[in-house]
Subunit: 137 residues, 4 copies
């Protein structure tokens, strides 16, 4: 299971180097995993309504090529691992027109309750996630 979604770069995403500011890629990672979760029938909003949150505890990003204003970026997201109270998504970003690889990265998330304490993932959510794991290549 791999989710693919797109994002059009706006002016506000760029910086004075004329390319997208590096922190904004993490917004695209978020967009990717939100659409991934929606696609498998577990929208993130429904997870939070159950009092469960997936805060990011680690992020890594490799910037291969700059992204520019008005580029259409394809964000491909997979779920690469699932623990008792954690999960990891991996991302590949490329420019749609040229198919160039822009960036790769991953985020590791804890599973916590409203109080911020580590919590076991609710079994129905865990079951759905288990079905769609795709180990990182």
């Amino acid at each position: 299971m791999k989710n693919s979604t797109t994002y059009r770069v706006i002016y506000g995403d760029t910086d004075q180097m004329g390319v997208v500011y590096y922190a904004n890629y993490l917004r695209w990672f978020e967009l990717g995993r939100t659409e991934f979760l929606r696609a498998i029938g577990v929208p993130y909003g429904s997870i939070e309504k159950n009092g469960i949150y997936f805060p990011v505890i680690e992020v890594s990003c490799n910037y291969h090529k700059p992204a520019h204003f008005d580029d259409l970026i394809i964000i491909e997201t997979i779920l690469t691992s699932l623990g008792r109270a954690s999960l990891t998504f991996s991302y590949e970003l490329c420019r749609r027109e040229s198919r160039e690889l822009i960036a790769t990265g991953w985020t590791k998330h804890a599973c916590v309750n409203r109080a911020g304490q580590v919590a076991k993932m609710p079994p129905p959510i865990k079951a759905k996630l288990k079905e769609v794991i795709l180990p990182a290549s």
Copy 2:
């Protein structure tokens, strides 16, 4: 009562025109009013702890000169009006080194409770705010 605080422009604030992206000025307005409230002894965090929020219901900004990376911006904030359940702050931003005026603007806020309903401002907060109103010139 006029509060003055400073902010150093980072790379992430700029866009590919080589100047600060226009939405980021609203972050500076927020910084200005937060420091204003702290200075008069009513830090915004303490207001929220009482279940009161001041969401922005209207904003206006005039951009006079561009702000650049590494500029030190002076943010001057005054409280210009106070209603039963609303208040308005005005802002003047200038570049410290050159004293050039960068932007002026104002934000109008509602006073609401946790449920988002219009709420009367708590009397002790209202009293403090009333003392420091400075009508817009």
Copy 3:
């Protein structure tokens, strides 16, 4: 001529009040006018390639209802006026599902050259823009 485009609210757009941070609406205004210009055949990138820029010189926004995480926002943009070296866009944002009005606003832009000096708008661009003006109601 009215352009309509959509944006899905991400987590990174929200703040601790549980709603979209007020500065982010200005990003949506930008998205709206960029898509407006693309739709009439004058993509903003092509304007900049001609050494012409449309920096924002004034913005106004009225916040009617909060926008939330995962809301699909419809951004409607019209061009309401056109001067010798300036132009004004107006925006209406609503929540797609409920059709509620979220915000309204406008941005006034100067027309400048690479050096940041006021410049006459290139006649072909001006001609296209003139055709699609829709005075503010």
Copy 4:
């Protein structure tokens, strides 16, 4: 050589989990390295004026504790390695009041010219940087 600078969390940095959005930590890393470079007498603006840029090519961040609105964050930055055309900064973020560790991370940068091509670092800059390297512990 370790640089220490501070940042006060604003409302716009938070998200609906009531904590700082994870992408914003990368803005703080930028703040840290900009102040580091200023402190050693090589302000980043002066580097760019020489046609040299340090785009981020890799970032890693570990989130230990959430940061909240109005927290005063201490950003400690060191330069941990220096190559022919690359350099790496490491960061430690902690909450000033409680001295709790908030996050750690690092950024790897290329050294490129205006055209975005890998470039040898100018000798005077390289010399200054070499003096202040502090290998990661």
